[in-house]
Amino acid sequence: MFVKEMVKQSLPLLILCGLGAVVAGSILGLMNAPDPESNLFIRIPGLIVVIPAIIAMRGNISSAFGSRLGSAYHLGVIDVDNLWNKELNENIFGSFVLSLLTSTFIGILAYITSFILGVYPNPFLIISIVVVSGLISGIVLNILTIGIIYIVFKRGYDPDNITGPALATFGDIITILCIYTSILLLGGLI
């Protein structure tokens, strides 16, 4: 029974998330332009190295957030009528602090890795791209997470089957867009 329930609730969302990942991949494709002049990975050495790290950080923090809220729901700590409480605030603040710490760490690590790989990027640019895109995507995703959780509760689904995939996917698209945006914002520095 539960195999059927799990497949029924998860498969459509998994396919949808996969399609979302295609969108995410296409944005990477835009950055990987065939013309070397406008290919961001060629213009900004070291950029392709930090991309998996930024995406992973974002996905990890928001999925853990969603997963914790799933358990909180099973434990009866939060529900649709009692969503915005102290427990939720602690979760929001915790994930925000994690975003800030980890973004800074990735930035510094990217700077060090660039020397090991023999690529010599502008360290200030790489660190700014990571921190700016990490923070913007963090704020956007925290808001989105609470929205998704609210809808999932309203519909009476098991949050464990829904929030993880939904967050990871929206997270990927939003994060790649934020990386792109912060490159455009910081473009004057290239």
Partner: protein
Amino acid sequence: MIYNWKKIVKTGFPILTFAVLIEIFAGSILQNNQNIIFVFPIFLLSIPVLNSVSGNIGIILGARLASGLHVGYITAKVDDKRMHENLFTAIVLGLVTYTILAIIIYFGAVFSNLNKGIELTEFVGIFVSTGFLLICLVALSSIFAAFISFKRGLDPDDMVAPVVTTVGDILGISFLFLMISIFGVGI
């Protein structure tokens, strides 16, 4: 009060640090294969999809195990029946999802003129075999992470996602380039 932001940061940060270190390594593999990606953009499109599906299934599995462990209807043992049902479903779910998405990506790429010289069967073969290897290892690491963290008194909800997505990203990128060379694309 069950949750405390300091505890969330304390549990999350060390594993995130570790995850980020491995992801930088995954990024280096991408850097080294930048030529294949440049010549066959269809594989750049595939990477987020491979990683996203394996990550999602690993997270679903982990979240289900975490809730089960918290409430007590799953025990952290190798022969737990509900755990095996969950593992089996995860692998089936993965194979079905990867096959459907492989076909969609291929025709999407053909439609948008991104595909150069790769047959449908060849692409589906590379994609689904990468996906199958990936989903098996990701599901096992999900179970492993959930059980170990639960036994150590840590919240599995904080541990599973980083472990699963990190393992998935590095293995997804590695298996993809492995399968590309086994199938002999680009040589």
